[in-house]
Structures are given as structure tokens and as C-alpha cells.
């Protein structure tokens, strides 16, 4: 059991290092796209460590407690996540719903802490974050329902192995509509434009993060990197057949994150009600169509 927990901590650490590097590389790529030199690839690390070294302010115990709870929840979630179909800390217990709901602990902790700061921008940001979550979760979960129903398991490793088994396709090919919905929902989860409404630095002063500085903000950056890793990895495992070895995983991971980032960088921002109406129009319709086709008619490519 202790070994498993240590492996889990290792996975969480790996998640942090990987996503921070990939995010740095992506800043470089975006810089090059915009005809800039862009920062060094390890700039994200410098930013995080700088934040951890500064002296911050605190608005009372809930402000700190929320951050600890949020980061703890996210680290816990990452510990369950398999990297490939072989590398997983808790074999058989990596149930899909753990990721959705344990991730919510992070969100709840952060929301609590942000509201606890007493800043109205933070509350508006939290409101927007939760509303966005209401928007993207439902289509995404309908697609996942289809996947679990087809593969007969809700374990992330199980779903990967199901796709890797000879004769079964990656789900992005087997369920093309579902794959598109999954990717749009992933953009929402990552808070990429056009669904960046809850950060909106120019509009609501970076929303929930408005009162954070120093170590709390640094911890939230770590939290953000790990949660991005969890979300992108969910997509890789659910739709892209997971990975059999770590290099395959790295390639798929990098491709998915970079694609999401590139799409983000050529988009504007939706209003919050547009986010909701958008997700409940096309993605939900596509997800339901895909589910009906796949479950009731059994037409799976």
C-alpha cells in the first residue's frame, strides 16, 4: 500500500514537471507564431518558484485552508491517474468518476478560498467558473457514458486496454462525433479561449485569482498545471487509445495540449451565457446523437 501511495506521489510529481515543461514550450510556440522570440522553455518553472519565494498576503484562515484543500484534492486526483495502461498507482481503482468528482474538490477549495478573500471579482470569477463547468460537464459525461457502456468498464486503464485490444478502434475514430464533443469539452475544462470567461484578466482581473499573490498563487499555479495534466490525460486515455509506453503517451499528450492551445490563440472570448448556450446546443446534440447511434443502434465504426 505504501509503495502504491509513493508511486501515486511520483505520478503527481511527474504530472507537474511534464505539464509545466509543456506549458513553457507552448508559450514558446505561441511566441513564434506571433513572430516573437518567446520565453525560455523553463519559464513556467521560474514563475512558479518566484511566486513561492515571495511574501504574500492572507485574508484569514479560510483563504489558506481553501488553497491547501484545493491543491491536496488535485494531487490526490493525479495520484489515481494512470500514465499508460501499465503505469498506474492503484490498479482497478482508477474509476472515471473519481477524476470528475475529486477534481471538483480542487475547484471547491479554490472557490471557497477565493470567495473567502472578500473580493467581489473573485466571486464573479467563481460564478463564471461554476457556470462554465455546468456547461461543459453534461455533454462530456454523455460521451463518457457511451464509452463506458460500450467498453463495459469505467476504469481508465480498462478503457485504454479496451481500445488497444485488437479489433477495437480508438474512440475518437469509433465515435467521431463524441470525439469532437470531447475535445470541445476539453477546451472548456482547460479554460482555453473561447471558454476562458472565468479568468478574463482584462475584464474581471483574473477572476478567482484576483487576491492571490506569493505562495498561495504559486500553489494555485501548481494546482493548475496538475489539473491541466489530468484533463488532457483524460482525453488521451478516453479517446486516443491511451498509451502502451511512456513515449507514446508523451507524444499524444503534447499533440493534444498544443492543438488546444493553438486553437485557443486564434479565438476571442465568449460571454458566459454564450458559453452555456453553446454547450447546450451543438455539443449536447452531437453527444446525444452519438450515444443513440452507438448504444441503441450499435453502429460503431
Amino acid at each position: 500500500m505504501i509503495i502504491n501511495v509513493l508511486v501515486g506521489i511520483g505520478i503527481a510529481f511527474f504530472a507537474f514537471v511534464l505539464q509545466t515543461s509543456v506549458a513553457g514550450l507552448n508559450r514558446k510556440i505561441v511566441g513564434r507564431l506571433q513572430k516573437r522570440i518567446g520565453p525560455r522553455w523553463y519559464q513556467e518553472f521560474i514563475d512558479i518558484f518566484k511566486l513561492l519565494s515571495k511574501r504574500s498576503v492572507s485574508h484569514g484562515w479560510i483563504f489558506d485552508f481553501g488553497v491547501i484543500m484545493a491543491l491536496g484534492g488535485i494531487i490526490g486526483t493525479a495520484m489515481f491517474m494512470p500514465i499508460t495502461s501499465n503505469i498506474v498507482a492503484f490498479q482497478d481503482y482508477d474509476n472515471f468518476f473519481i477524476f470528475v468528482y475529486l477534481l471538483a474538490v480542487g475547484m471547491l477549495g479554490m472557490a471557497m478560498s477565493a470567495s473567502g478573500s472578500g473580493n467581489p471579482w473573485a466571486s464573479i470569477g467563481v460564478m463564471r467558473a461554476l457556470t462554465t463547468m455546468l456547461a461543459y460537464e453534461v455533454p462530456f459525461l454523455i460521451v463518457v457514458l457511451t464509452i463506458i457502456n460500450l467498453s463495459g468498464t469505467s476504469s481508465m486503464t480498462g478503457i485504454q486496454i479496451f481500445q488497444q485490444t485488437a479489433g477495437n478502434n480508438w474512440f475518437i475514430l469509433a465515435l467521431p462525433l463524441g470525439g469532437i464533443v470531447g475535445f470541445i469539452a476539453l477546451m472548456g475544462m482547460l479554460g482555453k479561449k473561447p471558454f476562458e470567461t472565468y479568468i478574463a484578466p482584462a475584464e474581471i482581473a483574473s477572476g478567482p485569482m484576483v487576491e492571490y499573490g506569493g505562495k498561495q498563487l504559486g500553489m494555485l499555479f501548481i494546482l493548475h498545471e496538475i489539473s491541466v495534466w489530468i484533463e488532457v490525460t483524460l482525453f488521451v486515455h478516453l479517446f486516443l487509445g491511451g498509451a502502451t509506453n511512456i513515449f507514446e503517451f508523451l507524444i499524444k499528450y503534447f499533440a493534444v495540449y498544443t492543438l488546444a492551445n493553438l486553437i485557443s490563440n486564434v479565438n476571442g472570448r465568449f460571454k458566459i451565457d454564450q458559453v452555456v448556450t453553446f454547450f447546450y446546443k451543438w455539443p449536447l446534440l452531437m453527444a446525444v446523437t452519438q450515444a443513440v447511434i452507438a448504444i441503441y443502434f450499435g453502429w460503431v465504426i
Binding site: G73, F80, F90
Partner: protein
Amino acid sequence: MASIEYLILILVGASFLAYLFTKLNTYLGSVFTILATMFVFASLAGYGFGMGLDTTVNYLPWFTFNQTYLGFYFVIIIAFVYLMVSFFHPYYLGQYKYKDSYNMLFLLSLAGIIGAFYTDNFLQLFFFFELIIWTTMFLIPQGKSREAAVSYFGFSVAGSVAMLIGIFLIFSSTGQLDITSGLAAISGTNAIIVFILFLIAGFAKLGAFPLHIWLPIAHGNAPHPFSPVLSGALVKLGAFIGILALVRIVPTANLLVDSINLPLGQWLVAILGSISIVFGTLMAIKEDDAKKLLAYSSMSHGGYILVAFSLMNSVAFAGGFYHILAHAIASAAAFMAIAAVARATGTTKMKELGGMIHKMPITYLAYLVAIISMAGIPPMGGFISKWLIFMAVINKGMIFVAIAIFFGSVGSFLYVFRPLAALFLGQEFREYKHVKEAPIMMLIPTFILMGLNVYTGVFPSFILNFINNILGELGYAALNVTSSSIINVFDGQGILNPALISLVFAVGVFIAFIIFILLKKSRSVSLMDTYTAANFVHDEHLLHYSVDFYAPLERLYEKHTNWMTKFYESLAKKVKEIGNLGKYLFMSKNIGTTMLWIITIIILLLWGVAL
């Protein structure tokens, strides 16, 4: 050997004693109420788990009692909620006009509940139901509004009349008044009608769509310590009747929804349950009063229970039963936290409150734990029940029901977070500078409920094993729960290890705490020292964002929420008009006309009897 009959008689006796004691001294009467409730709960817990209660009847003629796992499961939950709430009585009764009858009715309704769940006879069930309704009806108007009691009573009576007609139908077609055999024996068209009638009763008590109007009115306006009972305990009566109808009545085979292999009736109930979930969620998001918000959340959770019991398999049933427990605990805890705030500040309106965390940290924690459970987030009980329901729905492939349950689940983050942010977090208002944490007697149930919320989420095996007994009693396969509390559903389609999740979560929090504590200490600043785009704001009300919290989202559906209320309003108007017509006909000044009508009706009635 405790006997059910004795328990009921003791409670009835205790209720009159409580009346007398409260007349002498409010505090004395309330403490007596606590002791009486505690005694009943202790005897139930002590003898009931092994089905060891005595069912013989010595003093009450015509009454028969029978104990089942199903009934016991409900009765222990409800008695527990009653016990927890009774701790609040000493601090609240002073505010109410008829404090002496408050304690009496409270104990009498508990007697009714014990009777209702321990009976095997339809007429007794009806009798005890009426006892509960009539006693609680007089408790509700002691709060803010009398109309609340009227609408509660109206819907409850509609439900019990439906149930009574159902009972008559069963008796006329099968000649049985025994619950189990009566429901099993009925078949054909009568079965469908009884099914519908019982569900009307169940929906009315559960506050499910479309019979939900009374729920926010009654919950929101009931006395503060009675709202937890309403939400945590009394709506579960509806779930009980719903289970009787959904599980006990043998479904007619020719009415199956083919693609998901479910009887049509059950499928329709699942759809209605889904509408309850979505409707309750949307209304809760919109609501501005913390208690009404929680009432709508009860409606949404009632929808989950209906969905669970209409899926006809043991995983869903286990989820439903677990949800009844988890929601009872969480909802009671949340309502009690709100009650504690209301006691300190005198309001439950979210726009008038803020920053209570600095004054009432323990109440805040209780509320936090409760809403984590309500939202179905891991280390709490709500996650396990929701997970079981999710797995059952996914296994069945019910897409539209799934949309509703996922929507309700994510939506619950939205609405449970609102009171958290508006009441407890944010700016600390200067009006409430004098407020103190709730007294120790009120914190005892708070701590117990907090502990139970966590316990149900971390070690579910004890409760799930008990639920397995109920499933066996209902004729369904038991849930696969291994000793180390690993739940395995549908042969490995889902495996859950709640204890492991909690452990990993604890490890994560520990790591985060280490990171936090190693770094430089932060400078403490006041709540008003926030980023305001460099503007000076000296009024905390301006810096507290709690009104119309989800305004952009509400705007999307606010035009479409009132049609149900309007329907009931017009119905109430029609009823009033008919009443006026009757009044006009009977109570006219001409005594001869009145006499004529009365005689006509008596003749008609006699004619009907002679027929």
C-alpha cells in the same frame, strides 16, 4: 425486550408530559423532549438492527405490527434526524407562540412515524400517515407563514386521498389489507391504477415534479429547527410509498420500453424524476433564500431517489437507499447550520448575510461537509450513492435520464456553493460583529452529523451490508461489497474503494500542507483590503457579491420557471370559486333553500348506500 407498541405508547404519553413540562418551563420541556427522543432512538438502535423488537399487541386493539429491514432502515434514519433536531429545541422554542404544543406535536409525529414503518396493514399505514400530516401541519405555521401550512396540508391531503383510493381499490379487487401480499396480488388494469395512485401519494410527499410547489414554501417558512425534519426525514415518507409502488407491484410485462428493457411505468417515473432533478436544480440556482434553496435541492435529490428506484436493479436500489441516508444526514446538517445562522442573525436571506465564518467557524465546517456530501464529492456519503446511481444509469444506457442526473450533479455545485459564499464567506458585516458561535448543545448534533457524513463516505460497507438485507427482502440480488469496503458493480464495470480515495485525498492534503508550511509566512490583511481597481471602498456591503449570483445563467431560463406555479395558482382559484359556489348555494339567507339542498344530498347519499 422493547415492544413497538410500548414505544408508540411511551411517545404518546411523553408528548403529553412534554406539553405539561413546557407549560411550566420551556427549557425543561425541551430537555424532556430530547430525553424522550433519545430513549426511543436508543431502543430502536439497540433492538432494531437484529429485527429484535417485539411486535405483540396488548393494549392497542385492531393494531398489528410487523418489522422489516425496509421499514427499519427508514425509521432509524428518521428517528436519528428527530434526535439531532431535538437538541435545537431549547434555543428556539422561546420564539414561538405555542411552545408547549410544539414539543407535544413533535413527539406525536415521531410516534406516527414509528407506527407507519412498523405496520403491515394498509389502513394503519393510512392512519399513521394522517397522524404525521396532522401533527406536522400544526408545527409548520409556527414559523413565518400560515400559508405554508395550507399548501403543505393541501398537497399532503391530495397524496393521502390518492393513497386511500388506492387502498380501497386493492381491497375491493383482492380483499387484502396486508401491504406485501396486497400489492403482490393486484394485477391488470387495477395494478396500473394503484401504481399511479400510490405514486401520486409518493410524489406529493417527496415533493417531486409536478407536485413540488409546497416544498419550498413549507421548508422555507417552517420553524428553523423543523426544516431539517421536513427535509431530512418527512420527505422520505414519499420515498417509502414510492418504493412500495415501484418495487412491490409486479410490473405488467406487455408494457416494456424495449431499448432499455424497463417497464413503461418505471420509465415514466424515471423521466419525471429527471424533470424533478433539473427543475429543482434550476430553481435552487435562482433562489435567494437559503432555506428555500435547500428545499429545492431536496426536490432535486428526491428526483435522484425516484430515478434510482425506477431502474429495477439492485445497484440502483442500493444507490437509492444509500442516497436516502446520505441526503437525510447532509440535508439535516445543512438545514441545521442555516438554522444556527438564523438564530444568531435573525434572517436566512442571502443578501442580508455575509462573513459568518469569522464568527461561526464550526457551523461553517458543518455546512461545508454537508454540501460536499450533497454535491457528491468523494470523501462524503453523497458520492457513493450518486456513483451507484450513475453506474446503474450508464449500464442501462438511459441517455435522457443521464443528462438530467449529470446536470443535477454538476448543478448542485452551483447551488450549494451560493449559501456558502453568501452566508459564510465574503465580507464580514458590521451588523453582525456581536454574533457568537452557536452554544455547545447545538454543536453536539453538528459534530455528530459531520462525523456521520464523513463516515458514510469513507466506510460504507456496514450500511451497504444492511442495504443488502433490504435488497434480499425485496427479492433482488445483493450488492457485491467486500469486507474492505470495495464496491464492485456489474461484474467489474465499476469498482470503487472509498477508503482508498479518502486516504489518497488525505495524502494529497498533507503534501499541500507541507508545501504551505515550509514557505514564507504571509502577511495578514483585513477583508476590506482587497483589489478594487485601486478605488477606496469603505462599505462592506458594496464589496459583497451575493445577490443574483448566477445572473447570466438565470437570465437564460427565468422566463420559463413560473408556469407550474401559475398552473397551481389558477387551480387554487378554481377551487376557491367552487367553494364560493357551494357557499352561495348552501349558506343563502333563505333557510328553505339550504334545507332543500341538504335533504337532496342526504337522499342521494342514502340512495348510493342502498345501491
